[in-house]
Subunit: 355 residues, 2 copies
Amino acid sequence: MTVGTSILDLSTPVPVIDEAVVAANIARVQDYMDAHGIAFRPHIKTHKLPALAGAQRDAGASGINCQKISEAEVFADAGFEDILITFNILGAEKTAPLAALNARTNLKVVADSLKTVEGLAAAFSADRPLTVLVECDTGGGRCGVQTPTEALALAQAIAAAPGLRFGGVLTYPRPSSEDTVEAFFSATRAALAQAGIDCPVVSTGGTPSLFSAHKVPSATEYRAGTYIYNDRAMVRAGHAGLDRCAMHVLATVVSRPAENRAVLDSGSKALTSDLLGFDDYGLIVDYPDARITTLSEEHAVVDLSACGKKPRIGDKLRIIPNHTCVVSNMFDAVVFHRDGVVTRTLPVAARGRVW
Amino acid sequence: MTVGTSILDLSTPVPVIDEAVVAANIARVQDYMDAHGIAFRPHIKTHKLPALAGAQRDAGASGINCQKISEAEVFADAGFEDILITFNILGAEKTAPLAALNARTNLKVVADSLKTVEGLAAAFSADRPLTVLVECDTGGGRCGVQTPTEALALAQAIAAAPGLRFGGVLTYPRPSSEDTVEAFFSATRAALAQAGIDCPVVSTGGTPSLFSAHKVPSATEYRAGTYIYNDRAMVRAGHAGLDRCAMHVLATVVSRPAENRAVLDSGSKALTSDLLGFDDYGLIVDYPDARITTLSEEHAVVDLSACGKKPRIGDKLRIIPNHTCVVSNMFDAVVFHRDGVVTRTLPVAARGRVW
């Protein structure tokens, strides 16, 4: 993977990242957030690379968002100080490393239950308190308190704990649900104000409807990850065109056993099995009518029935994955390029950090 | 992950492997192969661990099966000598490391096209020839020549190349298609015999219908990987009962936002999105009526509607994944235990070896 060589000389499968597209994606989103006065906190899950988080910070990001303690440790080691972990952290085996991390960074976590708050309260003390935001389920259907009333009660529990500081409210919303999010947040803010509790941060996020962030006037902060690379799902969501997809998985045609079948060397260990509502496993840029119908770990089976021209054995193809974040997690390293010429190879420093 | 501690003290999500079940699975399958006089070549993709391949060899395995060069390098480094790579290898960036591997092991690869054979022929010479088997598509619908006539033609091309040796024929069949496989192989063997070409190995494989291996009398060798751990798909296939599933993913309930919703910390980075025909993402052993309906990278959303008892926040649950091989690929290390007490932690040495 020598700098200056063609990406077509790389051993496949390999994710290749277009430097110019990454830079343009960072600028485009930061400019929008700046124009609307919204603090922007990129989620590092998409790239898992301190170098790219540095570029996001240089562009104006207010901090970073991680999902797990072990990810945050990688970025703290790389010098990042303002870190939000959007996860309910439970158990002594986790609160001990969390306290170590809180001692050296400006750390924030979330909670959606009294159980989580009690566990955190027992592990932190007033000399180095932990900032905790209340996670709200505004329709995303994952974690989060269900009502503004519950949010207030949890905020009060946080505020009452000597080792904790109430940091605000947060949601991971359904795309295009800005009105619902605003209604939840404005009711919660009113309840908090009435109870005399200051709410410094109101945070929402997600790439698909990122450019509607200004439709949630209560929000002070936005979080998003995928926008830096984009993927097939973001193109479908209307967030970006194909030319804004910075990541391609480069794959080789290793077999053409039948007229309408090609087999690539990019299986689920490269593309992952994430469908995200599609019924095939990625878009082959040079053969848009081809369909990746089946993945095994090391093989992708492609149906060529609808293709006029068909790829040959040995051809290297560029695939836009359905979901780019999960692809980053499969590889020890990613290769960057400019116009197809390798510029750098970076180890995926926070890959596989699951706890 | 100290030896002697309870697996319930581990930081989740984490794959835990039952030592006794692994040992029993190895013995059960090797005994069957021995009883039928079939050489058994375990596929290392399931565990990716030299220590377990060593146990399989000690039990009587004839060699190992890898899928990629970079996997085979890990096992060659660990002292394994008889290695079959069941992949069409193309391109100078791959044949160079392949030649290095062939210089130090008893290596075999497969081919299903003249293009692959020509590439290999150009990279190997008579002083250290490479053994090549012809891959046959007996109905699996992935790689492989389509007919015995094509198999013969490719065998002749291999035999004619000074740097190559014809090693036999191989298939990755549909489960329970023993009659079809036998028909393909016996016709191919007859054609090869008539052409005066010796066919030292006839290889088939797959865990789901492994115990029907003896119904393919032409076969001299069987390859399988999943049998060592088993998983939800193998239970459905009838290969094993739940008590023969050696791998569980241990996960923590991190949220109970609604009466019938639990959220676990085992997302697609732990369980993977492999469905394998199921409509949910794994079996929660202690709550078999719970359904893991949605995965994001770090969260699993569980529908508890059908559950009598329901898990609480902080509970640690054991999950049998749909597909065990892909889970091994997600983790840098796996923890072994006996009756829930940690016995050893092993780095997943061949994890992420995609090329």
